[in-house]
């Protein structure tokens, strides 16, 4: 560490839900669809002076063995619509929606995000994701035609075109002819208050990093250790120069969970309970089937991993992000299970966890600060395990400690999300 000034931490909150992160069996678990739940989480995040509130996306319900998966929280609203409503009950909080570039059109999304930016006075953000998933495509005109390799090609041109519309807003006509899009249109809105709503990119792949370095303002990553975070941070920031960008023009914000306790032991115990609630015996089998590609309903989740070999591309699980090559994953999982003497369920708990800060409020504040000051991250996107109260204790107990350290704002100093993130308003070309 040098004697440079303390880095200011960026914090965002993810609306939990629509997967097994949310512990719906907890008596404190409320509705995942009532507006009151969204409002509570957003108001809590704003009370904690967070940079933004973040919604995920999923455009088709997952299936296991040809039937809709029924174990996890499921049922979510359309993100941009909810965020417009949240703009009415918050005044500073950034509002970020994950929206697929594959099953939308640039003109329409440019207009929808410009509208959100106007209606929130400059607080809109778009988390760009892509899909090559024909399963999801069955709900859309475009279907699932897109090759995996073309995903970032389309996404890059899509984002570029959306930015052209934002730049030409207020009556200017965009004429764009590219490999993916051939359009001519006029956005009949003033330029968005932020110039361009903030663009977020999720994902750690090489193409994803390059895409983020070229065009994103925030990258939503996932790293388990300080050193892995530092390596990712260095790699992504290094890539920016090639695009004429400065290192602080892209904020790296990994998604993390957290569990607080009055003592370290209590926090660790609570974290273990939460993980067991998230990964039930039935959920364990679901994860194994996702990798093995065969029916494992007879498998004992409290015994060892299946001895049979995985069947690649069986399609037994649909609508879920592919984990990779099943044979490789199974080999890796078996090695971990053997080394640590884990049952199937313990193994799934071990390998599906994301980075988590577990401890007393002081310890959690300290670790978050350490990660940021040592350039393993610029901040974090917190993923609470409860809706809607999952952020309350963090805001009440950890945020004040970060503020005392002088590494997190006590009041918003600007009005727009770009202000919070320290990002300039892009000039018109």
């Amino acid at each position: 560490m040098t004697d440079r000034p303390l880095k200011q931490i960026h914090l965002a909150a993810h609306f939990p839900g629509v997967n097994n992160t949310t512990v719906w069996t907890d008596p404190a678990s409320g509705s995942q669809i009532d507006f009151a739940s969204f409002r509570h989480l957003a108001e809590t995040a704003e009370r904690g002076r967070f940079d933004f509130f973040f919604l995920a996306e999923g455009l088709r319900l997952r299936e296991v063995k040809g039937r809709i998966h029924d174990l996890d929280v499921v049922g979510r609203p359309e993100s941009i619509t909810v965020l417009n409503a949240l703009a009415a009950v918050t005044t500073r909080l950034g509002l970020a929606a994950t929206v697929n570039a594959t099953f939308n059109e640039p003109y329409e999304l440019a207009r929808r995000f410009a509208s959100l930016d106007h209606l929130s006075d400059g607080r809109a953000a778009w988390n760009v994701v892509t899909s090559s998933d024909a399963f999801t495509g069955e709900n859309f005109r475009r279907g699932g035609y897109l090759d995996r390799a073309d995903r970032y090609t389309r996404a890059a041109e899509f984002v570029q075109l959306v930015r052209e519309f934002w730049d030409a807003a207020d009556g200017g006509t965009v004429r764009h002819r590219g490999p993916q899009f051939d359009v001519e249109g006029t956005l009949s809105l003033p330029r968005p208050p932020q110039g361009h709503p903030v663009v977020i990119q999720a994902g750690d792949s090489d193409e994803g990093r390059e895409f983020a370095a070229a065009t994103a303002d925030v990258i939503f990553s996932r790293h388990h250790t300080l050193t892995a975070g530092q390596a990712f941070h260095a790699d992504v920031k290094r890539r920016l120069a090639a695009y004429g960008r400065k290192p602080d023009e892209l904020k790296i914000m990994p998604g993390v969970t957290y569990v607080l306790g009055d003592t370290q032991e209590e926090a660790v115990e609570r974290a273990a309970e939460i993980r067991r609630a998230q990964v039930s015996p039935a959920t364990t089998i679901g994860y194994l089937e996702q990798v093995w590609g065969v029916d494992l309903s007879g498998h004992d989740p409290d015994g060892p991993l299946p001895t049979v070999d995985p069947v690649p591309d069986s399609g037994i699980v649909k609508g879920r992000t592919t984990l990779g090559d099943p044979l490789e994953i199974a080999a890796k999982w078996r090695a971990v299970a053997e080394e640590k003497k884990l049952t199937s369920r313990e193994l799934v708990i071990e390998v599906t966890g994301r980075q988590s800060f577990i401890g007393t409020p002081e310890a959690v504040a300290d670790r978050i600060d350490t990660y940021v000051q040592s350039d393993a991250a610029d901040g974090f996107i917190l993923v609470p395990h409860l809706t809607p109260g999952g952020l309350d204790d963090f805001v009440d107990r950890v945020v004040p400690l970060l503020q005392e350290r002088g590494v997190f704002r006590t009041e918003y100093t600007g009005t727009t999300l770009r202000d919070h993130l320290g990002l300039p308003v892009p000039g018109r070309p």
């Binding site: 029924d70 174990l71 359309e78 859309f140 249109g185 003033p190 959920t283």
Partner: protein, 370 residues
């Protein structure tokens, strides 16, 4: 007590892009206890305006009773997105959402998307009908009690109460089910604007297709008619085709610049009639005219016992006196579970040919709680 009027208004304000302007208009409309407000939309380069559904979502938390009916066009937008967006407006407003169905018929709009060319109006309205069909099926695709949170079995939902919609149309197909649970109103209120000329024997193909879409899918028709006699003929024809549960509101321009104009409007509204259930006011100057409606017109109608003094229920369907429809899939499941109907549980669901939403509650008097 005389029959209650249904009153609604447009809040179109070309050039305005700030939430404060629309909030002020919505508060006037709500003070007048109007059934709902509408906001037009299109992808045409003029006039300058915000996305209508976004604007009304922004208004939902700052209003309590007002129905919110944005235009959402069907020509270039994905029907799946339309369904979940209108559904979400219903969630964030606590059951006050509607959908004014529109089409995009200009070359400029087609080029802005670059996906397909323009098409004749009858084709656009046939596509709009398909979009309405898909939206309704997706709203129904989660039965009201699909979320079970059964800790004993670890199941959050009962997947047998979620349904594939398997829509196959000329322009698109959608598999379903929705990702968004059934909206508070069961189905948000579907609104279609129709001109009396569309019902005439010599109507153009586009007008006829628009009427067909309205007759099959609309809960409310906004009717343009040049005079009272034409209005009566058109309303009669619409009821013949769509059934008695259709609400028909005559669309009338208003410009309440002085007391004389205000008095004339009070007279016209009090007289009512022409076979319609009420009126959709289209103000020349929304801020001025809605203030006059709230301060002068509605109080006068209330004094005459013609208009409500407060909202009777929380939802737009309540204001309009429309029943909450049961999910068609829940209905099908009920039928298939009775021994008399030898329908296998896995059989494709038969969608009633007449898409008249109000027919469903009569067949299945399920006052569904959520």
């Amino acid at each position: 007590m005389p029959r209650q009027l249904h009153l609604s208004a447009a809040v179109d304000s070309p050039g305005h892009v700030d939430a404060g302007h629309f909030t002020a208009l919505a508060r006037l409309a709500e003070r007048a206890t109007l059934d709902f407000v509408t906001l037009d939309d299109s992808y045409a380069p003029e006039p300058r305006r915000l996305d209508a559904l976004a604007t009304f979502s922004r208004l939902a938390p700052v209003t309590r009773g007002l129905g919110l009916v944005p235009t959402v066009t069907t020509t270039h937008t994905e029907p799946f997105h339309t369904s979940i967006s209108v559904n979400t407006l219903d969630w964030v407003s606590g059951g006050r959402a509607g959908w004014l169905v529109g089409v995009s018929d200009t070359e400029a709009e087609a080029k802005a998307f670059g996906r397909k060319g323009t098409a004749p109006a009858d084709e656009l309205w046939a596509e709009a009908a398909d979009a309405a069909e898909v939206a309704a099926r997706l709203w129904d695709s989660w039965e009201d009690d699909a979320e079970i949170r059964d800790t004993a079995t670890g199941r959050f939902i009962d997947r047998d109460k979620l349904h594939y919609i398997d829509f196959e149309g000329t322009h698109f197909s959608v598999r379903g089910p929705s990702i968004t649970p059934r909206p508070p109103q069961g189905r948000p209120v579907v609104v279609v604007a129709v001109a009396a000329a569309d019902l005439a024997p010599d109507a153009a193909a586009g007008g006829r297709a628009r009427v067909t879409t309205a007759a099959r899918y609309a809960d409310v028709v906004l009717l343009d008619a040049p005079d009272r006699a034409t209005r009566l003929t058109a309303a009669t024809e619409l009821r013949l085709r769509a059934g008695e549960s259709l609400r028909i509101l005559a669309r009338i321009p208003v410009a309440l610049a002085d007391e004389a104009a205000t008095a004339a409007l009070i007279g016209e509204l009090a007289e009512g009639g022409g076979g319609v259930d009420g009126f959709h006011l289209v103000p020349a100057d929304p801020a001025r005219d809605l203030a006059a409606v709230a301060d002068r017109v509605v109080p006068a109608l209330r004094d005459l016992g013609l208009f409500r003094t407060s909202y009777g229920g929380p939802t737009l369907r309540d204001h309009l006196g429309l029943a909450r429809p049961a999910s068609r899939y829940a209905l099908a499941a009920t039928l298939s579970s009775t021994p008399a109907a030898q329908v296998p549980a896995q059989a494709p669901v038969q969608i009633p040919a007449a898409g008249n939403d109000a027919a469903a509650p009569a067949a299945a008097p399920a006052e569904v709680t959520r």
